[in-house]
């Protein structure tokens, strides 16, 4: 077994329109943050629907816990979401930001 991760990157690709498990995954992110881990959440594909306004309360919870929440710029553009106001807790980023975090020391990535 390898070293314990110092930070987590959770990648949510399914989103709240795919069923309740997306919310459960964001709950995993909250649980990690509450237990003291450094957590970043990246919303991609249909996962970016969670970034719309206040539609998904787990996003605000994550922000309150100090987690970073990113949304993929490409996926939001595909889905016409930049035309809407996104949650103030979410930052639009490109895949380059994800790559940098992913390849940094001690990062463990989990894709849902």
């Amino acid at each position: 077994m390898g070293d314990k991760p110092s930070r987590y990157l959770l990648i949510e690709s399914q989103g709240n329109w795919a069923g309740p498990n997306a919310g459960r995954f964001l709950g995993d992110a909250s649980a990690l943050a509450k237990s003291g881990h450094q957590v970043s959440v990246f919303l991609v594909q249909d996962g970016v629907f969670a970034a719309v306004n206040d539609s998904v309360p787990e996003i605000a919870t994550l922000a309150e816990l100090g987690a970073t929440v990113w949304a993929d710029d490409f996926s939001t553009a595909q889905r016409a979401l930049p035309a809407r106001s996104l949650s103030p807790h979410v930052k639009l980023v490109g895949m380059d930001s994800v790559a940098k975090l992913l390849m940094s020391d001690g990062c463990r990535a989990v894709w849902h």
Binding site: I11, D46, D72, Q78, M95, A99, L102, M103, W111
Partner: protein, 155 residues
């Protein structure tokens, strides 16, 4: 491209003919395991974008295709998709062509592995030559050869 090299261990006490060998496995930056199916959601696009972004960071990337992701690299695709009846003259590259181009653009830095079991299970064993066939018995050793692994499920 090989991912293992065999080197003499350099133990001078033993005669040259009896020197033990030590297998040194090549290390990779990122292993992306993709088990989700094409045409189901945008997972293939996301995985390839992530792979490219990590390549842009100067790291190496291996893609391990499981499940129906093995359909992407079938020879039967040829270089282009089927004809778009609304744009018959248009050029629409096939997934196999795109993978081949990515491999050619990143020699020694990007590799594509096809899982032998998943390919056989789906009758999809005729991959383009650039793709490496690998048994799932070597799955964990492939993970161990990477600094980082991302597992994308959905098969």
């Amino acid at each position: 491209m090989t991912d293992t090299t065999i080197q003499p261990a350099g133990t001078s006490e033993l005669p040259a003919t009896r020197k033990p060998t030590k297998i040194v496995q090549r290390r990779w930056g990122l292993l992306l395991v993709v088990t989700a199916a094409p045409h189901s959601n945008d997972v293939i696009t996301s995985a390839m974008r992530l792979a490219q972004a990590v390549l842009d960071e100067g790291k190496t990337v291996r893609m391990w295709a499981c499940g129906y992701a093995n359909m992407l690299t079938q020879k039967a695709h040829g270089d282009t998709k089927l004809i778009n009846t609304r744009d018959p003259e248009g050029f629409y590259p096939s997934s196999a062509h795109i993978v081949r181009e990515m491999l050619a653009a990143n020699p020694g830095k990007f590799a594509w592995i096809a899982c032998t079991a998943c390919s056989a299970e789906r009758g999809a064993t005729d991959h383009i030559a650039e793709v490496r066939f690998r048994s799932p018995l070597r799955f964990v050793s492939t993970i161990e050869a990477a600094d980082q692994t991302v597992f994308i499920g959905g098969a």
